[in-house]
């Protein structure tokens, strides 16, 4: 598969700078560990947050951070896309007989984000232990879906952000509200936020669907329609489609305007 070949190239590039790569992984690990320490201290002082326990919030935090770290690894090409347009690298992509999305994803794999992913998975293990849930197959599946849905949602936002480059070269920073802002927000159960924020982040940008709603199922708070709660993360996957559509429109526009 072509993506695996790209992955191999990225790894070989990173191995040219072993120490650098190792330090970057370590730095990513530590910085997200500090972020989680903040959450832990908060609960140490207050016991619970809006009726949510440390284990539940940790799970939210861990799922969101893992999803974000996965996205940052695989979809980094979209994050740094404005540079590719300016340097003409995107022209090269258009000169090859393959889809643009795959090629952009393949062009950058950010290995250092694995440090963040490692830390997130560690918190996930802790959270699962603190929650003391009785695990069964549907619950394990739900957890996997949460990670998948989350990664897809973040990837969708990255793609949208990159697609904006086709229409304007300015004001791209505001999109960080969705990536970094979204990550912060989705690190906590949605109920602690205001109603409009909740709706926006459930139905427009489906962050709520990747952790809050399935979390209700995992912790046994969803009595009716359990399967529905379980499958909500798939909305995150569906979110990719409109994003790719906008991307395609962007590519069309790029072809007619050039750079």
């Amino acid at each position: 598969m072509l993506y695996l070949k790209y992955l191999k190239m990225n790894l070989r590039s990173f191995l040219q700078y072993r120490l650098n790569t190792f330090l970057a992984v370590l730095a990513q690990f530590l910085s997200s560990a500090v972020a989680f320490a903040g959450v832990y201290l908060l609960f140490d002082r207050f016991g619970s947050l809006g009726g949510w326990s440390l284990g539940e919030v940790s799970l939210c935090f861990a799922v969101t951070l893992s999803a974000f770290a996965i996205t940052d690894c695989v979809a980094r090409g979209f994050d740094v896309f404005s540079g590719s347009v300016k340097s003409g690298d995107f022209d090269r992509i258009l000169l090859r007989p393959r889809g643009t999305v795959l090629q952009v994803m393949g062009s950058h794999f950010e290995l250092s984000r694995l440090g963040r992913l490692l830390e997130a998975l560690l918190v996930l293990v802790l959270a699962v232990r603190w929650l003391g849930l009785a695990w069964d197959f549907p619950k394990a599946l739900t957890l996997l879906l949460m990670l998948l849905g989350g990664a897809c949602t973040f990837t969708g936002i990255y793609i949208l952000g990159a697609a904006v480059c086709f229409f304007t070269v300015e004001g791209l920073e505001f999109l960080n509200i969705f990536t970094h802002g979204g990550r912060e927000l989705a690190s906590y159960p949605l109920t602690i936020f205001n109603r409009w924020l909740r709706r926006f982040f459930t139905f427009i940008v489906p962050f709520g669907c990747m952790n809050y709603l399935p979390l209700l199922y995992l912790t046994g708070r969803a009595e009716q329609h359990a399967a529905l709660y379980m499958l909500t993360p798939l909305l995150g996957v569906a979110f990719l489609f409109p994003c790719v559509l906008v991307w395609r429109m962007g590519v069309k526009r790029y072809l007619s305007t050039g750079n």
């Binding site: 072509l2 070949k5 590039s13 022209d91 258009l94 000169l95 007989p97 007619s256 050039g258």
Partner: protein, 325 residues
């Protein structure tokens, strides 16, 4: 093989005055200026031709190469290349073309050249056996064997350009677009690259479109030149034809036994004179080299003599001047 008819492309370029006031104004209201990058461009290129595409910076060369390679859609006009409309059937079409940008690389910076080639094999889905044969052929003719296992960043510019050219030929394209392939190369590498392009064209009938500012590239490689300026095709013809038209003088350099008095010559300009060496510029419309030598031989004891054509740069400069670009 390549057929462009009435291709037009206009870009909107934001215009902004100087100073902070104008910058603020530009945030709310922009004035645009239309730039006609291509203005009714038509030409035909047949299979196996090598065409030199020349013109000053900003004349529309790269815009038309972008149109022909399918990464820019023109406003009007038609472009048919090997039965495809490049921007409509991009993915099928680009399999058949190779593009080399002299200033940019398509290979990976930090990994050995061979690894980049392997990735290209996967991208173009080249069957193993075919890929092996093409690789062998390119390695041999471009002399890549010494550095195939070296990361690109450690190669010299000449090696990099050869690796680059090989990279764009792995999928055996029928058309090759070369954008300044010899820029910055030393004399040996330049000759090697030119030699290879010639051979490729002769043996495999690859059609080559060459944009360059190096007139020696043009002279060494192309039979036909297309001159573009201000978005229009100004001249389409053979290199020999252009040369003939602007070939209006000869530079005659003589050495002789010491002679202090400068000797004037009819229909020629005396460019420099020292006791034993002189340079004349002959107007070939009015006189010939043989007449000049006969005239000078009567007064000077000539030891040696050379006659030179106008350098190709001057011919092209003459062409630019004639078209006022």
């Amino acid at each position: 093989m390549i057929e462009l008819t009435h291709i037009t492309k206009t870009f909107k370029v934001a215009r902004r005055g100087k100073g902070a006031g104008a910058a603020v104004k530009a945030m709310f209201h922009r004035e645009y200026k239309l730039v006609h990058a291509l203005d009714d461009v038509s030409f035909h290129i047949g299979r196996g031709e090598i065409v030199g595409y020349i013109g000053p910076n900003g004349a529309g060369k790269s815009t038309s190469v972008k149109v022909m390679s399918g990464i820019l859609v023109p406003e009007s006009g038609a472009c048919e290349i090997m039965g495809y409309t490049p921007w409509k059937q991009r993915r099928e079409y680009v399999r058949h073309i190779g593009v080399v940008f002299g200033q940019r690389t398509q290979l990976w910076w930090d990994v050995p050249v061979q690894d980049s080639y392997d990735l290209l094999q996967a991208i173009y889905k080249i069957p193993n056996e075919r890929f092996r044969l093409t690789c062998e052929m390119l390695t041999e003719t471009l002399g890549l064997a010494d550095f195939l296992q070296t990361p690109l960043r450690q190669l010299s510019l000449g090696q990099r350009m050869r690796a680059e050219i090989a990279g764009s030929l792995l999928h055996e394209p029928e058309i090759l677009f070369l954008d300044e392939p010899t820029i910055g190369l030393d004399a040996v590498s330049k000759l090697a690259v030119r030699q290879f392009i010639k051979q490729l064209n002769a043996e495999r009938q690859v059609t080559v479109i060459l944009t360059t500012h190096d007139m020696h590239d043009i002279e060494a490689l192309t039979d036909r030149i297309l001159l573009i300026g201000k978005g229009k095709i100004l001249h389409d013809g053979s290199m020999a034809g252009v040369k003939h038209r602007f070939d209006t003088y000869r530079t005659l350099t003589l050495t002789f036994t010491p002679h202090t008095e400068p000797v004037p010559l009819e229909h020629a300009e005396l460019c420099s004179w020292s006791a034993e060496r002189a340079v004349y510029r002959l107007d070939t419309a009015k006189t010939t080299v043989s007449q000049a030598i006969t005239a000078l031989g009567g007064q000077l004891n000539i030891l040696d003599m050379t006659s030179e054509n106008p350098p190709v740069e001057e011919i092209i400069a003459g062409l630019y001047r004639e078209h006022n670009i």
